[in-house]
C-alpha cells in the first residue's frame, strides 16, 4: 500500500494479470451494467436540467468506477454515507433508479418528500444510504459514530463514507479520521479526488503530496489508487472492508479520478479547467477501461454490451415517466417530520397556510431555476 504511488490493476491492453476480483461472471456483468446505468442516469439528469424539467444535477461522468468499485466491496447490510456525486453506490446495491428520479423531481414519491434538492438521496431499503447533506464533510464523522454502534453491538457491519478532495479540508474529515483511528471504528473512507472542488484545483486545497497521506498522521492505514480502474478501486476497498470487519479499524482510500464536466449543471468548467486536462482524461474513461478488461477476458460481447446499454436507457426513461407523472408533495409536508409529533405552534402555522390558500389562492411556483 502506498499513499503516493498510484495503484492500477487493469493494464493498457485490458489484461489484469495476477488479479482476481472474486466475482462470478454474473457479478462482473452486474458491475458493468451498474456503470452503464450510472452514466445513463447521469446523462438523463443533465438533459432534464437543460430542458428545464428539473432544477439541478451533479455530473457523475468520469467517477463511475470509483463509485461502483467502492460500492461493490460492501454488503447490503453495511451502511453508506456517500457523497452527492456517487450515483453508483445506490444503483449497485439495487436502489431503483426510478426512486432516485423521484428525488430529482422532488415529487410526492421522493423518500425525502420533495424537501431536499436533487441528488440528495435518502434510502433505508434496499440499503441504508443515509440522507445526503449539502454541508460538506458533515457525514464523514457521522459514519464513524454509526460504525462505532456496529462495533459496540458486536455486529460485523461496516460503514462507508465518500467525499471529494475538497471534503478533506472540512472539520468533519479531520474529526472523522481522528476518532476512527482512536476507536478502531469499522469504517472505510473513500476520497474521490476528482481534481477540482468547484473551481479550486488540488494545489489550492492542500500542500500534501496526496490526500491519502493525511490518513497516516491519524494512524489510519491509507492507500492511493487509480479511481478510473474499477479493479484497483475494488481491490483496495475489499481489503479495507475486510480489515474493518475483522476489527482492525478504518482505512482511507484516495481514488484519483477526474470530474468530466462542471461541478453542477449550473457551472461552466471551461472557464477554469484547461482543455488539455479534459482531453487527457477522456482517454481514460472508466467505462472504456473496464469494457476493455471484459472484452479481453471474454466476459462481454458487443451484442451483450448493446443489449445492456439499451436496457439501462429504457430503465431510466421509464423512471422519468413515472417521476413526471407523480404529483408535487402536499402542503402539509412542509410541517410534518420536523418532530416526531406535530407541536401546537406548527399545527397552527399549517392551518394558517391552508386557510390562506383557500381564501387567497395557492402560492406561485415560479421558474425554480438554481442559478449556480
Amino acid at each position: 500500500m502506498s499513499t503516493s504511488q498510484l495503484k492500477s490493476v487493469i493494464q493498457a491492453d485490458g489484461a489484469s494479470p495476477g488479479y482476481d476480483p472474486g466475482l462470478s461472471d454474473a457479478e462482473l456483468l452486474h458491475m458493468y451494467r451498474t456503470l452503464l446505468l450510472t452514466r445513463a442516469f447521469d446523462d438523463m439528469c443533465i438533459k432534464l436540467q437543460r430542458s428545464g424539467r428539473i432544477g439541478f444535477s451533479v455530473p457523475n461522468r468520469g467517477i463511475e468506477a470509483t463509485s461502483v468499485g467502492t460500492a461493490s466491496a460492501f454488503r447490503k447490510d453495511d451502511w453508506f454515507f456517500p457523497s452527492y456525486r456517487d450515483f453508483g453506490v445506490g444503483l449497485y446495491h439495487g436502489v431503483d433508479p426510478t426512486d432516485m428520479m423521484h428525488n430529482m423531481f422532488g415529487n410526492k414519491l421522493d423518500t425525502s418528500k420533495g424537501r431536499q434538492m436533487p441528488v440528495h438521496f435518502s434510502f433505508v431499503d434496499p440499503i441504508h444510504l443515509v440522507s445526503i447533506s449539502s454541508p460538506i464533510g458533515t457525514h464523514i464523522v457521522q459514519a464513524v459514530g454509526a460504525a462505532y454502534a456496529f462495533k459496540q453491538r458486536g455486529e460485523d457491519k461496516v460503514c462507508m463514507a465518500s467525499f471529494g478532495d475538497g471534503g478533506t479540508s472540512s472539520l468533519g474529515f479531520h474529526s472523522a479520521l481522528n476518532f476512527a483511528g482512536v476507536w478502531k471504528a469499522p469504517v472505510v473512507f473513500t476520497c474521490q479526488n476528482n481534481g477540482y472542488a468547484i473551481s479550486c484545483p488540488n494545489e489550492m486545497q492542500t500542500a500534501s503530496e496526496s490526500y491519502a497521506i493525511k490518513g497516516l498522521a491519524y494512524g489510519v492505514p491509507s492507500v492511493r489508487v487509480d479511481g478510473n480502474d474499477i479493479f484497483a478501486v475494488r481491490e483496495a476497498t475489499v481489503a479495507a472492508v475486510a480489515r474493518a470487519r475483522a476489527g482492525d479499524g478504518p482505512t482511507l482510500i484516495e481514488c484519483v479520478t477526474f470530474r468530466m464536466g462542471g461541478h453542477s449543471t449550473s457551472d461552466d468548467p471551461s472557464k477554469y479547467v484547461p482543455k488539455e486536462l479534459f482531453e487527457h482524461w477522456a482517454k481514460r474513461d472508466p467505462i472504456d477501461i473496464f469494457e476493455k478488461a471484459l472484452f479481453k477476458s471474454k466476459k462481454l460481447t458487443k451484442k451483450k454490451k448493446a443489449e445492456l446499454q439499451k436496457e439501462c436507457e429504457e430503465q431510466v426513461i421509464a423512471g422519468v415517466r413515472l417521476a413526471t407523472d407523480a404529483p408535487a408533495p402536499g402542503l402539509e409536508e412542509i410541517f410534518t417530520d420536523v418532530y416526531a409529533e406535530l407541536p401546537d405552534h406548527l399545527r397552527r402555522q399549517g392551518e394558517m397556510a391552508f386557510d390562506l390558500a383557500k381564501r387567497k389562492g395557492s402560492a406561485d411556483a415560479g421558474d425554480g431555476a438554481f442559478p449556480l
Binding site: F56, R115, Q116, K271, H345, R359, D364, G366, F370
Partner: protein, 324 residues
C-alpha cells in the same frame, strides 16, 4: 452613475474599497479566478493580483479564523462564505472570537473584518442553499449585521462595513442579485451602518422588512393601494445595531404594524422589532403587531414558494391589520 444589478454593486463596492485601501483583501471558496459562484468577486483577481483576491481550501472555519488573525494584524479582510447555510463550521470563530475580541482584550485587539455571504430562498436551493440565519448573529453582541436590498445600499453599506472598526456580517439577498437594478454612483460612498431606509411613505399600515422581502412588500403594498390602504414601507437594512428611534417613529406614524421576514418566526428578528415597539410605544398601537415569516420548519425545496412569504400573505396581513 450607472444602472446596475445588486450583484454588480457588491462587485463595485469591493473594487472601490480595494482601490482605496491596499490592506483590503477578498478570499473564500472559488472567490479568486472564478470570481465566486455568483460572480460577486469577478475580475478582482486579475485587477488586484492573487495576493489580494484568492481561493482558500474548503473550510469556513479556516476562512474566518484566518480573517480574524489578519484583521487583528493590520489587514482588512473581506471573507466570503459561499452560502450563509455553510457558515456554521465558522460559528465558533465568529461568535466566540471575532465578536468578543475587543471586549475581552479591553480594546487592545480588534477585528475590523467583513464576512460577506449570500442568504435566503427563492432559487430552489432546498434546506441548505436557502436559509436566513440573521437571528443567530443578531443574538451575538459585538457583531454588526447588515442586509441591503438595493444596489445603492449594497455598495454604500459594503464600503461602510469594510471601513468599520468592528466585525460586520454582510448578508446579501441572493434572490435579488440579478433581479433588482438601480442607479449607483461610480465613486466610493458610504451608507451609515445604523439607519433604516424609508422605502415608501404611507399612512395606514407600517411594514418593516429587509433584504429580499422588500420587493415582495412593495408588490403587496401596490395591491393594498388598489383596495384603498396606504402602506408605509421601511427597509431596516442594518439589523444590528438597529435604528431604534427610526423604528419607533415609523410605528407611531401609522399605529398599525406588520413585520415581514423569510426566516422562521420563533425567536426571529421580527420578535425583537415587535418587542421594541410594544415596550416603547404600545399606547400608539391601534392593532396587534403582526408578523409574516417563514414557517418554523426547515426550508423545503419543492414547496419553497409556500414557505416564503409572498405578496399574497403580506397583503393578507396588511388588510387584516388595517381592518382591525
Amino acid at each position: 452613475m450607472a444602472n446596475i444589478t445588486l450583484l454588480k454593486a457588491v462587485n463595485e463596492g469591493l473594487r472601490g474599497a480595494m482601490q482605496n485601501d491596499p490592506s483590503v483583501l477578498c478570499f473564500g471558496e472559488d472567490v479568486g479566478p472564478k470570481g465566486g459562484v455568483f460572480l460577486a468577486t469577478e475580475n478582482l483577481t486579475s485587477e488586484f493580483g492573487e495576493g489580494r483576491c484568492f481561493d482558500t481550501p474548503l473550510s469556513e472555519d479556516g476562512i474566518i479564523g484566518t480573517a480574524i488573525g489578519m484583521a487583528m494584524n493590520g489587514l482588512r479582510p473581506v471573507a466570503e462564505i459561499q452560502f450563509q447555510d455553510f457558515i456554521f463550521p465558522a460559528f465558533d470563530q465568529i461568535v466566540s472570537e471575532a465578536a468578543k475580541m475587543r471586549y475581552r482584550s479591553g480594546g487592545q485587539y480588534t477585528v475590523p473584518m467583513v464576512i460577506r455571504t449570500p442568504y435566503g430562498g427563492g432559487i430552489r436551493g432546498g434546506l441548505y442553499h436557502s436559509q436566513s440565519g440573521e437571528a443567530y448573529f443578531c443574538h451575538t453582541p459585538g457583531l454588526k449585521v447588515v442586509i441591503p436590498s438595493t444596489p445603492y445600499d449594497a455598495k454604500g453599506l459594503l464600503i461602510a462595513a469594510i471601513q468599520d472598526p468592528d466585525p460586520v456580517l454582510f448578508m446579501e439577498p441572493k434572490a435579488l442579485y440579478r433581479s433588482v437594478k438601480g442607479e449607483v454612483p461610480d465613486e466610493n460612498y458610504t451608507v451609515d451602518l445604523s439607519t433604516l431606509r424609508s422605502v415608501k411613505e404611507g399612512d395606514d399600515v407600517t411594514v418593516f422588512c429587509y433584504g429580499a422581502m422588500v420587493p415582495v412588500v412593495e408588490k403587496a403594498a401596490a395591491l393594498a393601494q388598489e383596495k384603498g390602504i396606504s402602506t408605509n414601507i421601511v427597509d431596516l437594512r442594518t439589523l444590528l445595531p438597529l435604528d431604534e428611534e427610526g423604528v419607533l417613529e415609523h410605528a407611531k406614524r401609522t399605529g398599525r404594524v406588520v413585520i415581514v421576514h423569510e426566516a422562521p418566526r420563533f425567536c426571529g428578528y421580527g420578535s425583537e422589532v415587535s418587542a421594541l415597539i410594544a415596550e416603547n410605544v404600545i399606547e400608539y398601537m391601534e392593532a396587534p403587531i403582526k408578523r409574516v415569516t417563514g414557517f418554523d420548519t426547515p426550508f423545503p425545496n419543492t414547496l419553497e414558494h409556500h414557505y416564503l412569504p409572498d405578496e399574497r400573505r403580506v397583503l393578507d396581513a396588511i388588510e387584516q391589520t388595517a381592518a382591525y
